[in-house]
């Protein structure tokens, strides 16, 4: 059996690890366009913040590929999948045969059209290790940095470089920060934190034009800058599957076995659209845990097991300058709000189930107990919901359930 994985990030590692639990003899080839062994992309802001190093941010230890007998083909791009001959064409002119294929090509930065953008010399995206290293090269204590995008990537970038530069201005078309994961109160708390840390947030605004080292905004404001970071959003890399005739919407469509519409072709991670287990709608749930678990599920199926990943849901754990945020699920139904000294907790209940939550500040402890209620669609009538709303405690479960949780081998 020859397994081939296109992409060398988290989903790829999940796939390798699950294949090797089942099949120790089949060959595994990984083709990746970056020259680095798998590292964690969300750590690039921590790298610039000196909270990690390039060595430490590798996702697995140095011996990983050797121990798992993986043939690494790095710095290469796959140009096409031929599903008839079950071959991949590589940009060095070679062909690679596969029996089972995983597409884990992730996403790439989306850059909206902005007038004179190409005239900006110091312009960067912030997604890969090379992006971070390139950005680092130009940063000085005198740099005025303009970040377009107040989402997860843009704001983590701001935090990562804050101590290295003179000023940071974040501009976003949305009227508030982190609009994809927070409610208004949460956005407001995070924005206040950013402002208190010296970051300027200009919201509900966008760049109309770049003129020399100024960004002219739609509102008429002018922001002078030396370094530009584009963090507006990402686009799933779907072209390989699309051009091979596979079903693609915004991203590659996969089923609960993580297979695409093409025979023997699986897909996992940020390039995919899967079913959100809370809403049963198709969504791009581009978060790291889903990438790992989709890759893992694909790997098990590629190696001949019958595995399903039907627990994909939105969830995020992120922090800015010590203000921690953990969220999960959807923000619908009735809500319960608890305000605390440094933040708040908001729980969302629909049809007798917890469907989502937002925790900020000192409310984040043991958040996974809430996540488990969302993930398992626990009937809230079977637990002491008043108690668990106050504090995430296993005490809130019935004695029998508690005995099972704590007493059985998991």
């Amino acid at each position: 059996m020859h397994y081939v994985i296109v992409g060398n990030s988290i989903a790829s590692v999940g796939c390798i690890e699950s294949i090797r639990k089942i099949d120790q003899t089949g060959t595994i080839s990984v083709i990746g366009d970056e020259v680095h062994p798998c590292y964690s992309r969300p750590l690039i802001s921590y790298l610039l913040e000196n909270k990690t190093t390039e060595e430490k941010m590798t996702y697995r230890n140095d011996a990983f590929y050797e121990q798992n007998n993986v043939k690494l083909m790095l710095g290469k791009r796959v140009q096409a999948i031929n599903t008839e001959t079950k071959q991949l064409s590589i940009d060095d002119g070679s062909l690679v045969d596969y029996d089972k294929l995983l597409i884990a090509t992730g996403s790439c930065p989306f850059i909206p059209p902005m007038k004179n953008l190409e005239s900006v010399k110091n312009r960067f995206t912030f997604m890969t290790l090379d992006d971070a290293k390139n950005l680092e090269k130009v940063l000085t204590k005198e740099s005025r940095v303009l970040i377009i995008g107040a989402g997860l990537i843009g704001l983590k970038c701001a935090e990562g470089i804050r101590d290295r530069v003179k000023t940071i201005t974040v501009v976003d078309l949305a009227s508030r920060v982190l609009v994809s994961i927070l409610d208004e109160a949460g956005s407001s708390l995070v924005e206040k934190k950013l402002i208190s840390e010296g970051i300027t947030c200009i919201l509900g605004d966008s760049v109309k034009e770049f003129v020399n080292s100024d960004a002219l905004l739609t509102s008429g404001r002018v922001v002078g800058f030396d370094v530009l970071v584009l963090a507006v959003g990402v686009r799933p890399n779907v072209s390989l599957v699309k051009e091979a005739g596979g079903e693609v919407n915004r991203a590659i469509l996969i089923d609960e076995t993580c297979q695409t519409s093409l025979a023997d072709v699986y897909a996992a991670g940020d390039c995919c659209e899967s079913i959100d287990c809370i809403t049963n709608e198709r969504k791009v749930l581009a978060i790291l845990p889903n990438a790992y678990m989709q890759g893992e599920t694909a790997g098990r199926n590629m190696a001949g097991e019958d595995a399903f990943f039907d627990k994909a849901m939105a969830m995020n754990a992120i922090g800015f300058f010590g203000l921690h945020v953990i969220t999960a699920g959807i923000y619908q139904g009735s809500d319960k709000l608890f305000t605390t000294e440094s933040g708040y907790k908001r729980l969302f209940v629909q049809d007798g189930k917890l469907v989502g939550y937002i925790l900020i500040g000192d409310t984040i402890n043991r958040a996974g107990i809430y996540t488990s209620l969302v993930r398992n669609k626990t009937d809230l009538a079977t637990i002491d919901f008043d108690l668990i709303s106050e504090e995430p405690l296993l005490m809130a479960f019935a004695k029998k359930e508690r005995a099972h949780k704590l007493g059985d081998a998991q």
Partner: protein, 142 residues
């Protein structure tokens, strides 16, 4: 694999397991030095309410959601044991988001700590089990 299990009906709610845990992971030889005048931050924690009490620590899940959710590759499963490499952890708290038992918590430096069954400290075998006066906490294969 042998794990730490808590028999709820025998738990007295005395919190000694928490103190033994903090001591075992303190790196100090003397329990007094390790604990005197300090607020402890143990890896096992007692829940108690209305006369019921039980301790909770890492279950060392066969399918560990914390490991699969860790963005830094700092958590790993080694022969069934879930361990954290504190030098790789950046304190993003993804594992807190993922763990259904609420069994991971940050240490004083903001990086994660968790029960490693006392295999990674000088104690060697679970101190909470040794310290439990009513044998409510056991270390066994199930």
């Amino acid at each position: 694999m042998k794990r730490v299990y808590v028999n709820e009906q025998w738990c007295l709610g005395c919190h000694l397991c928490e103190y033994y845990c903090a001591y075992a992971n303190s790196g100090q030889e003397s329990m007094v030095k390790a604990l005197k005048d300090r607020t402890i931050n143990p890896r096992i924690k007692v829940e108690e309410k209305n006369g019921i009490s039980f301790a909770v620590n890492c279950r060392h899940c066969n399918e560990p959601l914390c490991v699969k959710s860790c963005i830094a590759g700092a958590l790993s499963q080694v022969d069934g044991l879930i361990v954290v490499d504190a030098s790789k952890c950046v304190g993003c708290y993804s594992c807190i988001m993922a763990c259904p038992y609420g069994a991971l918590m940050p240490n004083e430096e903001g990086v994660m700590q968790k029960c490693e069954l006392c295999t990674t400290n000088t104690h060697g075998k679970p101190a909470c089990v040794q310290g439990c006066p009513n044998k409510a906490i056991v270390f066994e294969e199930r």
